[in-house]
């Protein structure tokens, strides 16, 4: 679980934040509701999760709420990994 959190957080920081951004992003930091990841960009995050973890996330489960923190994303991914 911790490894998965680390992978997702690293991707978010690399893809959605600039090098000199002051934002401190942690596992429980809001991503969608803070505007770090907007609703359109959620698609690329979803694709990343599907490719990386070899799962399929149904559209009706890939909601802004489910994607709002690294923690909540891990819950969703684990569900589809059958954990």
């Amino acid at each position: 679980m911790e490894e998965m959190k680390g992978i997702i957080l690293e991707y978010v920081v690399e893809e959605y934040l600039d090098e000199d951004d002051d934002d401190e992003v942690g596992f429980d930091s809001p991503l969608i509701s803070s505007g770090i990841v907007d609703s359109f960009s959620m698609v690329s995050l979803k694709v990343f999760l599907e490719k990386k973890f070899k799962i399929k996330l149904p559209d009706d489960e890939a909601t802004p709420e489910a994607f709002d923190t690294v923690d909540s994303i891990c819950v969703l991914v684990n569900k589809h990994l059958g954990k």
Binding site: E15, D20, I32, S34, D38, F40, S41, S44, K51, T63
Partner: protein, 581 residues
């Protein structure tokens, strides 16, 4: 009682001067939007009234009265003037929906500048194209977004001033100036630029099928159309608390997210936070919002979370709902009645029209799924696709067109007169813009298709070109295709809209690869992120399909319409010009 009263009665003997009556505007008063939205409201005794209620991330909240709006916008106006910005110069506002965006917008107009708001999610390529086209003299931005300006500044010789209005001053680089208007000495008095109805005011960029985005130039006279439609369609009244969810980087966010409500002296709310249904409902509840102007994409997202969630919040204050950006489907209208006890009323207009053109009205029967009827004073028609003559039989599909001359009509496409002239059926290519927009024998063609039913209601059919409407925002395929081939793996690209349940359309790209590249999951993701960062999240392809070769005409032109027809399951039409099968 609604402001419009009876739609049918308003049609009789309509004269746009009624907008002056609604504003109580004398002929000798200054027609400057910045002045009218702040100074004038104070002069009318409403300086102490709340103008803006703003909420941001992390429970941040701010409120401003009209008098504070007046003084702070004076501050921006003076700052720009002192810096050497002259009337007519383009000043870009590039920031999130923070208070400084709204206040500086008025300040630019007060000193005679042309406000050029740009969507803060634009990447550096999108930003560069628009700043270069506009010959922008100054950019107002924030520490968060100035990085994108830095990347392209060396390509923008006309850009003289980069003013950072929020963040840490110590983070600035050479050539950038920090200016937090709220920490500066208040500027109590500022002599506004004496503008008239044809003085340039706002420059909004909009996408077309071919070429780069076009700058639709508006003028201060637009305020008459914006005020009257805000009064009659949005039904804004003195005691209302109004929320327009649009970003001022797009025309709705300025026409009805700044100008319309404030020149009428109405309190408006802004939520600068990412979308979640619960957050939106809480915002409406906490601020007792009475009038709400939103977009079908947002409404459909709310629908996905169901009515159960809505019922957890107190929505009792809401009295009037409107929608804009793309056609509002009948299901969404029916759902809003179930969820909020009232329907969303669809409104149709576009960047170029500056104000609402075909809409539904308070008190007029709503036909779910219909665009409504033309605003009083607007002569509309659907034109035959071949002859360009108005269709007279109900149900026939044609091009939505308007007789030119309404107050909010755009004055020009910046530096693209030929494209402007091409929007008027039957116009001479060398006709002057002022002649085109006043010639009642011409039709201005919107680029959308519709039909009219036996009761005079308009029904949207679709775009007449390849422009993609995603989440209510127009995205030009050419701009994305140009960016795609900048990626090292992409040889050729064609971009079309793909049907989407929530956003109406999303971007789909068909590509061929350069030698040596293998398309796999990570390359697909890499290309998506490449476009997201260089253009914007809206332009990012949601799906990428690799082809051996793209379908082309014998003359080598990529057949976008063929790909689009395949995506939409439509007849692919005449393929006789296809390069090969």
């Amino acid at each position: 009682m609604s402001n419009i009263g009876s739609y049918d009665e308003r049609l009789e003997g309509f004269d746009w001067n009624i907008a002056r009556d609604v504003l109580d505007l004398r002929d000798d008063e200054l027609l400057n939007i910045g002045h009218m939205a702040s100074d004038r409201i104070c002069k009318r005794g409403m300086g102490g009234k709340t103008a803006l209620i703003w909420e941001g991330f992390g429970d941040a909240k701010k409120q401003y009265t009209f008098d504070e709006l007046r003084v702070l916008s004076n501050g921006f106006a003076k700052k720009l003037q002192d810096a050497g910005v002259k009337p007519g110069d383009r000043v870009c506002v590039f920031m999130d929906k923070i208070p400084a965006l709204y206040i500086s917008f008025l300040g630019i107009l007060k000193m005679g500048g042309v406000a050029q708001p740009l969507f803060s999610a634009f990447g550096d390529d999108s930003l560069e194209v628009r700043l270069k086209s506009a010959g922008t003299k100054a950019v107002l931005t924030t520490q968060k977004h100035v990085k994108k300006v830095r990347k392209i500044r060396q390509n923008l010789p006309e850009l003289e001033h980069v003013i950072v209005v929020e963040g840490k001053p110590e983070k600035l680089k050479d050539g950038e100036v920090f200016f937090d208007v709220e920490k500066e000495s208040p500027v109590q008095e500022f002599e506004c630029f004496v503008s008239d109805e044809d003085t340039p005011s706002v420059l909004h960029y909009t996408s077309g099928t071919t070429g780069q985005p076009k700058g639709a130039q508006h003028a201060h006279g637009s305020v008459l159309g914006q005020a009257l439609t805000a009064s009659w369609v949005l039904d804004l009244q003195d005691e209302d608390i109004y929320w327009c969810t649009a970003d001022p980087g797009w025309v709705t966010g300025t026409s009805y997210g700044i100008i319309g409500p404030w020149v009428l002296g109405v309190t408006q709310c802004v939520l600068d936070q990412g979308f979640t249904s619960a957050r939106w409902y809480k915002f409406i509840q906490d601020n007792a919002i009475t009038v709400w102007y939103s977009a079908p994409t947002a409404i459909r997202s709310l629908m996905r979370d169901g009515t159960k969630l809505v019922k957890q919040y107190d929505m009792a204050a809401l009295r009037h709902l409107c929608s804009v950006g793309e056609p509002l489907n009948a299901e969404a209208v029916v759902w809003s009645e179930e969820a909020f006890g009232k329907p969303f009323l669809d409104t149709f207009w576009q960047t170029e029209t500056g104000s609402m053109m075909i809409t539904n009205y308070p008190g007029m029967k709503v036909k779910p799924g219909s665009m409504g009827k033309p605003f009083p004073g607007i002569t509309a028609a659907v034109l035959d696709l071949k002859t360009n003559e108005p269709l007279t039989e109900p149900g026939q599909v044609g091009l939505i067109a308007f007789r030119p001359g309404w107050p909010s009509m755009f004055r020009e496409y910046r530096n693209q007169h030929d494209v402007y002239a091409s929007k008027f059926v039957g116009a001479a290519a060398d006709a002057k813009p002022e002649d085109l927009r006043n010639d009642q024998d011409l039709w201005y063609v919107s680029g959308d298709r519709a039909s009219i039913d036996q009761d005079g209601y308009y029904w949207f059919v679709g775009r007449d070109d390849d422009v993609i409407n995603t989440g209510g925002h127009l995205v030009g395929p050419f701009e994305i295709e140009s960016a795609l081939i900048e990626h090292e793996a992409i040889a050729e690209a064609a971009v079309v809209g793909k049907p989407d349940e929530v956003n109406m359309e999303v971007v789909k790209a068909f590509v061929t690869l350069n030698e040596g590249f293998v398309f796999d999951d990570m390359l697909e993701l890499g290309v998506m992120n490449f476009i997201r960062k260089s253009l914007s999240p809206l332009a990012m392809p949601q799906e990428i399909e690799v082809m051996e070769k793209l379908p082309k005409t014998r003359s080598g032109k990529i057949l976008r319409r063929y790909l689009k027809a395949l995506e939409w399951g439509e007849d692919v039409g005449d393929l006789s010009t296809l390069e090969d099968d």
